[in-house]
Every structure is written in C-alpha cells, then in structure tokens.
C-alpha cells in the first residue's frame, strides 16, 4: 500500500505554477542543505585549477535541471513525420488534391490571354532578329508551348479537327486547350496534328512525335523520322 502511495507521488503531476515557468523550478526547488554545500566544493575540487573550476561549475552545473524520467519517443506511423522526411507529393496525392486541375471558374479564355502575350514575347526572343528557320526549328522543338494559340488541323478523330485556343497545359500525352468559348478541351497528342502561327508563318507539330513531358523534351535528343500515317 505504502509502495503504491510512493508510486503515486512519484508520478503525480507537478503543481501548475512549476509547469508554467521553468526558472521557478531552477531557483525555488527544495535542495538538501548538505547536498547544497557539498556539490560545489566537490566539483571545484575535482577540476584542475587551470580549468577555472568556479567558472566551470557556474556554467555547467549550477541551476541545471536533469530529467530523471525516461519518456518513450513518439513512434508509429505519424503522418507529419513522413511528410517531414519527403518534401514532394506523390502522384496519387497530387491527384487527390487536384492541384493540376483547372477549377471551373478559372476556365476563362480571357484569363489566359496575358499568358498568350507572354508566350508571344518569349517566342520573339527565341526567334531573334533573323528569320532563319534552320536555326529556329531545333529551338522550337525544345520550346515551351504553354500560351500558344494552337489549332488542330488534322486528326484521326474528325471531331477534334478545328479545335483552337490557347494551350494552357502540356502533359506527356495531351495538350489542354482553352477555346474562345471558355471550354477546356483535352486533346491527345497521338494521331493529331497541331499548328500555330508566328510572324506570318504557320508551324505544324506532329503530335505523335512529341509525346514527352515538356520538361523532358528540353533535354531530349530528337531523331528525324517521317510521319507516314496518323
């Protein structure tokens, strides 16, 4: 019974004012007078004189509180810990969060017109002063098409033919195009031919040949191969 009481005392909560302020515990805690007198003398006598015993005692021992309890570390599948370890989202998480989806209210052609202007500026920069196609085409192959005014000129599926608008998202296999009617069209690259105008010239992209992510396309080495059939 007595043992149990001790245990209860041992694990009983500290009074509230101690918990609140750490320095109270440091200064006002009850310490045995013998211990209080013995510890400084013992420590300073142990440390050699060149080690500045008094100073060492003041900085390293005096007023230090040691926790005698041995709490277990938080274990298990704590989600916050996992996210702490990996800073990226998984593809599944991205899908769940719909971070790449365009909300209905933002599917407005007008919203993306500035992007198109930006793209035109970017293309002007890329094209440079001269209009040398031979030098421009390799650049075009690696260019970013977000913001291009694209038209589907040829397709295996007749209903895609004639879809035009601003390309707002490129994935590995599709282009997402917003039309002047504020409709978001997802057009697969495969079996479709796209074209866009730049400085009175029309450029044609064979979707079959650029089925890579925009970022991968930049670093990719392209080989010339003919498109015989869509």
């Amino acid at each position: 019974m007595g043992e149990k009481q001790d245990k209860d005392q041992l694990y009983s909560k500290l009074s509230a004012h101690i918990q609140q302020t750490e320095h109270i515990a440091r200064e006002n805690a009850y310490i045995d007078p013998v211990t209080k007198a013995f510890v400084p003398n013992f420590v300073t006598s142990l440390i050699p004189s060149e080690g500045q015993p008094q100073r060492t005692y003041d900085t390293k021992v005096k007023g230090k509180v040691l926790s005698l309890d041995n709490p277990t570390k938080p274990t298990g599948k704590d989600k916050s810990r996992r996210t702490h370890q990996r800073k990226k989202l998984t593809a599944k998480e991205k899908r769940e969060l719909k971070i790449y989806d365009f909300p209905q209210e933002s599917r407005k052609y007008e919203i993306f017109l500035p992007l198109h202007q930006l793209w035109l500026g970017y293309m002007e920069e890329l094209l440079g002063q001269g209009s040398n196609d031979a030098a421009f085409l390799p650049k075009l192959l690696k260019a970013d098409y977000h913001g291009a005014m694209m038209t589907v000129t040829r397709s295996k599926c007749p209903s895609f033919v004639g879809v035009n608008g601003i390309m707002i998202q490129e994935t590995e296999n599709t282009f997402k195009i917003i039309t002047p009617q504020d409709k978001l069209k997802v057009i697969p690259k495969v079996a479709n031919v796209f074209s866009f105008k730049l400085r009175d010239k029309t450029y044609t992209i064979y979707g079959n040949q650029i089925r890579y992510r925009a970022a991968e396309r930049v670093a990719r080495k392209f080989k010339t191969k003919p498109t015989i059939d869509l």
Binding site: T153, R154, S155, K156, P158, S159, V161, G162, L230
Partner: protein
C-alpha cells in the same frame, strides 16, 4: 497494284425473274385483267420501279426494241431531260439564299454528282435526289475534313471513308449545331471546288428543271436526248424456247444451272446488240471467221429488225421510269421478241443500289438490265432483271 482476279470474281451478277400472267386475251392484257392478275402485275411493276429508284446515278440508258425506226420516233418525243454542268464549292449547297442549292437539297429535288475524278483515288461528292449528301473521300481528306463518316464497305484497308449527311433530318437546318459544323467544314477545311453534273426536279410534275447557279461559277446546260439506231437483220434468240421454259415461275425460287447458263448467253447477246456488233447481223453470219471469234448465235434464233435507243448524261430515275413505262406498254405489240432496257451507272458514283457503297475493283460497273418478252400463247409476260456490280461494291 496486282490483284488475283482468279481468286475473286471481277463482278457480281444478280438475276431475278417475274412472270405476269394475263387471263384475258393478249391484246387487251392491261384493260381486262381480273383483280388478282392486276394485283400481281402491280406487284411486279412496283418491284421494278423500286429498283429503278434505288439506283440514282445513271450515265447511260440503252433501250433495245424489236421495232423499226419510224415506229419508235413518235413515242420518244417526251422522253427528254436537262442537266447542268457546273463547277462549285460545297458551300453552295448550304446557301439558303435565292441562288443557293440548299432549298433544292433539303426538299430532295436535287441530284448531283461530281465527275472527272476517280472513286478509287480521289474525293467524290454526290447528292442522291432524296436529300442526302454523300462524300466519299480518301483517308487524307477525311483526316482534315472534320466530319464523321464510316469506312467504305468492301474497303478492307480502310483507306476510304464515306460520310453521309442527311438533310431531311429534323434538326439539320441552319443555325443548328450539326448544320453549322458542316458549314464550317465546307468553308474552312474542305473549300475546293468540284465539277458537278446536276439535275433539279420540279415540285409539281417532277420534271427536270435547270438549277439556278450564281453567275460567278461556270455552268452549262446540257439536254439529254435519245439517239436512235436502226438495226436491220439482227439475229435474235426466240426468247421462250431459248430461255423462257427454264425460268422458275416464282420470283423467290432459284435458277437452275442450265437457266443461268442460258441467261448469261442472253446477257452477252444483249450486250453485243447494244455495242452494235456486226457479227450479230444475219448478212455476216457466213463471213465469221472462227479463228477470230468463237461466238455462236444463241439457238433457236430468228432474224428481226431492231431499234437501239440511247440516252446519255446524268439521267434522272424519273426519266428511266418514263422510258420503262413506254417499254412495258409496248411489250404486247411485239410478241415473242426480246425487249431490253439497260441502265449503266456512273463508274465513279459513290453509291450503287440502295445506298450501298460503290468501289472500283476491276471495271467499276454497276448496271441493271430489264429483259422482257410477251408470250401471247400462254398469255403472259416474262420479266428478267439482271443487276451487275463490281466486286468492290457493297451491294451483292
């Protein structure tokens, strides 16, 4: 491209037969029929008329009649028509203005066919006279055109697509989505012009009528007139003894092997007559050299004076019906002699019979021949209808 012609027949020949029996005497066959007989006659005539109407793009009609030139001439007076040649873009047919083709197309009064381009290698456009536009296009055109179609029948490689646009549908009118899509395609993706043969029909009497064409498109009007050739001393088979007794009375029963053989001989004879072959003339029988030709005249035969009447151009089914009507009325006047009406379709028409897709395998033919003769002794008329199509044709 090489194709094994032995493995597949060059063309298919379909034969059907019908017999009209009259209980009354031959000379008054049509007026004195009993109800039952007139029923039967009506059925046969309806079937023939349906077949004529199911074959819209007719290029040439040959009529072979056992009669002299002078007898024929008076009845041919009304059997004429007009058709227009014009170079037009397709958007003309969607123009609902006064000089546009839309009202003609919508009401099913317009028959048109693009010519000068081959069905096996280029794009062909046709309007079937019942409010349907048929575009038979190559794969390349189909991919840039933007209208939904189906792969052509009998085209195993899917290199040709047929788009059928039915303008008689309820929602196929201006300012409706489907119609505006077609208009957009004709104004943006398929803007080329075609050389058309066109023919309009009148609302009241269905007679052919020239179509108003805007003056900025070149157009010419051509008449369709019969030309008559007199054929003296033609060696002709005696139909009932040659073939008639072998024919089944019932339209649904099968032909015997012998009947089919005889039928093909007769078909050959009709074809040769239409080509005005000299070897069919009785004067030349002696002169035939078997080294050059193995042809022998069908037996039993006799010598008869024939007239061959030809119409050429874009011939409306209605005119053929009129010709056929005249032809059927005259049968009883020439007993025991073969009369034949042969209609050739345009080789490059997108459809043959009953909207079946037409193709060009060997010769691209699609034609029908109606052969008939009157047998006064048995008081009946024999009708044999032969339909022939190219092997690359959806109709069989």
């Amino acid at each position: 491209m090489f194709r094994d012609d032995k493995a597949r027949p060059v063309s298919r020949l379909v034969a059907t037969t019908a017999t009209i029996t009259f209980k009354a005497s031959a000379s008054h066959a049509h007026s004195n029929n009993t109800d039952n007989d007139s029923d039967n006659e009506q059925k046969v005539h309806d079937r023939l008329r349906t077949m004529i109407e199911s074959h819209p793009f007719n290029y040439e009609v040959n009529l072979l009649l056992p009669a002299s030139h002078d007898n024929i001439q008076p009845v041919l007076a009304d059997l004429e028509a007009l058709y227009t040649k014009a170079t037009l873009p397709l958007k003309y047919f969607l123009d609902d203005g006064e000089l546009g083709g839309y009202s003609w197309l919508k009401s099913g009064r317009l028959l048109a066919l693009s010519v000068h381009e081959r069905i096996d290698g280029a794009d062909v456009v046709a309007i079937d006279g019942r409010g349907k536009m048929i575009l038979s296009v190559t794969k390349d055109t189909y991919e840039i055109l933007g209208l939904e179609g189906k792969p052509a029948q009998c085209d195993t490689k899917a290199m040709r697509f047929v788009i059928t646009l039915d303008f008689t549908e309820q929602f196929m009118k201006p300012r409706k989505k489907k119609f505006e899509r077609i208009r957009w395609c004709f104004e943006n993706t398929f803007t080329r012009t075609f050389d058309f043969y066109m023919l309009g029909s009148n609302v009241e009497n269905n007679a052919s009528e020239p179509i108003p064409i805007p003056s900025n498109y070149p157009s010419f009007i051509h008449p369709i007139k019969p030309t008559v050739t007199d054929m003296h001393g033609l060696v002709a088979p005696i139909p009932e003894e040659f073939l008639g007794h072998l024919l089944p009375d019932n339209a649904h029963s099968k032909f015997s092997e012998e009947a089919l053989e005889k039928l093909q001989d007769m078909y050959e004879w009709i074809g040769m007559s239409c080509l005005e072959m000299k070897r069919l003339q009785s004067d030349n029988v002696e002169k035939l050299d078997p080294f050059i030709t193995m042809y022998s005249h069908p037996e039993p035969n006799y010598v008869q004076r024939y007239s061959l009447i030809k119409w050429k151009g874009l011939i409306p089914s209605r005119l053929i019906e009129q010709i056929w009507y005249m032809f059927s009325k005259r049968l009883s006047q020439t007993p025991n002699a073969i009369s034949a009406l042969i209609t050739h379709g345009f080789r490059d028409a997108p459809i043959s019979f009953h909207d079946c897709h037409h193709g060009y395998g060997a010769n691209g033919e699609h034609l029908y021949a109606m052969v008939a003769w009157h047998v006064p002794s048995a008081r009946r008329e024999r009708w044999v209808v032969l339909q022939q199509v190219d092997r690359e044709d959806g109709f069989s």
